[in-house]
Symmetry: C2
Subunit: 210 residues, 2 copies
């Protein structure tokens, strides 16, 4: 009933609303939000109705209320703690990425097998992979980012699931298949680029797309 695309739109509405709020808006109509998020106003209202979000007929929606409700739905009222496995290229970039904290998401620890990468004293400690299960259990972390080379990805994903992780954001270039009751979102850079290249080629051939 509530599918992935719908939640992604909610995230987008949230960002748009926060922008609108920063600009001083107090009320918003479904049409405004739709424009800001690149969808139709019907879509916005449909999505809202799915979560029981209501506005005032003719009066639109209160920006503050909307933001509050969406944050609630997305579970952003409390800080979400996330762990990271793989302190390589992408892992390190994610560790340094500042954008998460403002959004209520915090990488609380990273893990790697390479002893050289271990650093317990850092604000964001890098710990040996052997400590992963204990850490996750003790801190009841439920979401993990997987940024290890493809050869290790399957093995690490199993460790994560075994340790109690229920959601994995996978950057390894293999399609991880979710076990039961585990959500896996794959981000595959090569696939994204291939996609782009296909449509660019197609557009160049036909002069038009879609």
């Amino acid at each position: 009933m509530v599918n992935k695309k719908c939640i992604i739109r909610l995230s987008r509405y949230k960002s748009a609303l926060q922008r609108l709020k920063a600009l001083g808006f107090v009320k918003v109509f479904s049409g405004n939000l739709a424009d800001a998020a690149g969808v139709t106003s019907s879509q916005v209202r449909k999505d809202f109705s799915l979560f029981g979000i209501t506005g005032n007929r003719r009066g639109g929606y209160s920006v503050d209320e909307l933001i509050a409700k969406i944050l609630e739905i997305l579970g952003k009222n409390e800080l979400q703690r996330v762990v990271l496995v793989g302190a390589g290229n992408i892992g390190t970039a994610l560790m340094r990425y500042k954008g998460f904290e403002s959004g209520g998401i915090k990488i609380v620890a990273a893990f790697d097998i390479d002893p050289e990468k271990i650093n317990r004293r850092s604000e964001l400690p890098v710990l040996p992979l052997e400590e992963f299960a204990d850490f996750v259990k003790q801190n009841s972390v439920r979401v993990g980012i997987l940024a290890v080379p493809d050869i290790a990805a399957h093995h690490v994903s199993e460790l994560m699931i075994r340790s109690g992780i229920m959601g994995i954001l996978n950057f390894a270039p293999i399609q991880l298949r979710g076990a039961d009751k585990v959500i896996i979102n794959n981000i595959n850079l090569e696939v994204e680029l291939e996609n782009l290249i296909y449509f660019v080629n197609a557009m160049q051939k036909t002069g038009q797309i879609e």
Copy 2:
């Protein structure tokens, strides 16, 4: 008719086939591929029929032929040159990422406004942003990766489009709206994590999902 999801599946079939080939498989049935890619066999055959890919009734498909045809469709017969803007956290990680080259994609140059980041002598040169338009035109690059902070993203995307870039892979945490005849794929890490968190929460509440 041919939509984004379909091309993403093609990419997945390609990976699965390359794996199967490495394992020594010569023939494959739609069901095998479906399993490997996590879809139904109908889906596989439908996708193939869209691109005029045919097999032998009862004989399945030749792995080599399939790979060749998919590579052809995805435009992977020639090396695809890509540029990158933003040599920060994520940009640098992408520059170092080795996975692309094996897949026929090569980042040929990166660009940044920070003079400290400029490095013309590197194998993957980092050039000042002012040179972007010229470089893209002279090298007829059509795909670019955008990895700059959100404040700069809009401005840079316009520069890219003005310079002739037709496909943008956007890592900035804002939803870039595609101009006409420009494809934009957005990768928003926060949105991905929010998504994961929502479903993990939902699962924990209900004990089941989907």
